[in-house]
């Protein structure tokens, strides 16, 4: 099981790097879905099966489908990839990339010298998570529902009329 964790961690990191560097947005999206599925495997191995299911169903399922739908609605042609390639000049990405790599190295260095402990290797099942969610975190769940309602209303209000000329054209 430990080997599975490391393999899926490597897949997650590589797929995420490919997500950020692809010029075609659909390819980036597919790599990110792959990275999310690898994260789901990591969660399962870490002993969090509820969150693993949540990642696959909500994150890789629902949220990514939203991205795919929006890309389909925009209907971008091959010229968008050329434009994207023109934006990704070395002058634009070298500075932030070097600084972020330095940050990563610092983080890895400090965590390597941290030497805390290992995970217990025992699963925390959905039952315990549900009891915690509707016990001490009940107010948080209510706030999350209010936040989702706000997101729904915001998306409805902002998205209104965004596709009108496209409808006229067809």
């Amino acid at each position: 099981m430990t080997v599975i964790f490391y393999i899926s961690a490597a897949i997650a990191v590589v797929a995420t790097i490919l997500t950020v560097t692809r010029v075609n947005v659909v390819h980036a999206l597919l790599y990110f879905i792959c990275s999310l599925l690898a994260t789901g495997v990591m969660f399962f191995v870490l002993g969090a099966p509820f969150v693993a299911a949540l990642v696959v169903i909500i994150n890789a399922g629902a949220i990514m489908v939203l991205f795919v739908f929006i890309l389909m609605m925009m209907n971008m042609g091959p010229q968008s990839a050329d434009q994207e390639r023109a934006w990704l000049t070395p002058g634009a990405w070298v500075g932030p990339a070097v600084l972020s790599v330095l940050l990563t190295i610092e983080l890895v260095y400090s965590l390597v010298h941290f030497r805390a402990a290992a995970t217990t290797g025992q699963a925390v099942g959905p039952q315990q998570v549900g009891a915690a969610l509707f016990g001490p975190y009940l107010l948080g769940v209510e706030l999350a529902s209010v936040l989702l309602l706000a997101g729904l209303l915001g998306a409805y209000h902002l998205g209104e009329g965004a596709m009108k000329p496209r409808e006229k054209r067809s």
């Binding site: 997500t19 994260t39 969660f43 969090a48 217990t120 925390v124 729904l152």
Partner: protein
């Protein structure tokens, strides 16, 4: 279930977060920026789950649930905004938005 050193899990979360940070800083496509924010939120969630797995408590997974909620709401609003930007400016360039007049 495997026994993983906590620092390894935190290192992976930090690496994923920094890759997302590079995406936010370097890309100009609004959709890819939203995707990179999603990467960063997911990396934070991974750190929470690793910590929850270390302490053998459900709180880490509860926090991931909340992060997922925030991500869903943010993506819904962000994507409808990017749809409006594409409608108004004909491209997804984040720099195009600074031509906007009140």
């Amino acid at each position: 279930m495997a026994i993983i050193p906590v620092e390894i899990g935190l290192i992976i979360a930090g690496m994923l977060f920094c890759v997302g940070l590079v995406g936010v800083l370097t890309r100009r496509n609004i959709i890819v920026i939203l995707l990179s924010i999603e990467i960063m939120l997911n990396a934070c969630g991974l750190a929470f789950v690793v910590a929850g797995s270390h302490w053998q408590q459900p709180d880490g997974q509860v926090m991931y649930f909340f992060i997922l909620t925030v991500a869903a709401a943010e993506v819904a609003v962000g994507l409808s905004l990017s749809l409006q930007v594409y409608h108004k400016f004909g491209s997804l360039d984040a720099n195009a938005v600074n031509r906007m007049r009140g």
